[in-house]
Symmetry: C2
DNA sequence: TATAAGCTTAGAGTTGGCTCTAAGGTCAAT
DNA sequence: ATTGACCTTAGAGCCAACTCTAAGCTTATA
């Protein structure tokens, strides 16, 4: 049985974050001392580490909640459900990468067009490009949302 | 002279957003009617379009503020300052891309390891990987901050 | 002149994931 | 017995960039 700060040390999550995750149903302490102190069992620790791993990969807390409920009752969930969550996340990540690559290209082109020297910005090609709006590849999807 | 909704139509920004940008010093109306209505001159419109273009590229409002003050007094700013802002942004973008690529690889590997069929998740390799924490390439930089 | 569309303001709400505070109770070591 | 480290809670605050509301004033059209 670990106390919260010990679980924090083990997982690398802060005690604050552990309580925050508990409030959101991700982690719980299967025991409490008389004074209300949280005590974490081996199963609790494994669950916390599952959460930590999933978070490191980039899953949202909501995704993690779904993955945890699958983990809790594997028999009544399919692999399909797991890959759906994973694929959905991958799509999201791929979308963001695509957006960022457009930004990257635009920024790189701007940098290439301007030496960046100590001369004044009167004829700076970056400022000019921004003024003329002819920055070509602008990002179409400004929000990160999806269906 | 355009009214706010006309400027909104021209720039594709909402009237709300234009007022929000004004509150943050990015856009202003050089005239007001007696009743307080905003009226935008050609120079105002060009400035608003500059802001819009910079935002589309992905610059933060803070970056845009700096770019605008360079634009306002080009003589006393160098190209160096402009490329610094741009390079800084590019570094940020490259950092995010790197993070996302790690997520992408991990997710793809997980998907490859699990067929995603209708069988139950008892032996799901994705769930197992999360349980064992051996997900290899985890993302080190979780926050987007930098010096 | 009446109706509707459009404008004004200050300020609150949204998103996701923390992060921290205040005010107090508990526990181990000296 | 007293320090000091640790624990508890509810709830506020933070970040960026919006997004929206409420309540009231103005303007154009019929
Ligand atoms: Zn010159
Ligand atoms: Zn330049
Ligand atoms: Zn089986
Ligand atoms: Zn599977």
């Amino acid at each position: 049985m670990l106390k919260i700060s010990e679980l924090a040390a083990q997982t690398g999550l802060s005690a604050h974050t552990i309580r925050f995750y508990e409030k959101h149903g991700l982690i719980s302490a299967s025991e409490r001392s008389e004074a209300g102190y949280r005590y974490y069992s081996d199963a609790d620790i494994r669950r916390a580490e599952f959460v930590k791993t999933a978070r490191n990969i980039g899953f949202s807390l909501d995704d993690i909640g779904q993955l945890l409920s699958i983990r809790l009752d594997k028999d009544s969930h399919s692999c399909q459900e797991v890959t759906d969550i994973t694929q959905h996340k991958l799509d999201e990540v791929n979308g963001k990468i695509a957006e960022l690559k457009i930004m990257q290209q635009t920024l790189q082109r701007l940098l290439d067009s301007c030496g960046g020297g100590p001369e004044d910005a009167t004829h700076c090609s970056i400022i000019e490009a921004l003024e003329e709006g002819d920055v070509a590849s602008t990002v179409s999807a400004r929000n990160g949302g999806h269906s």
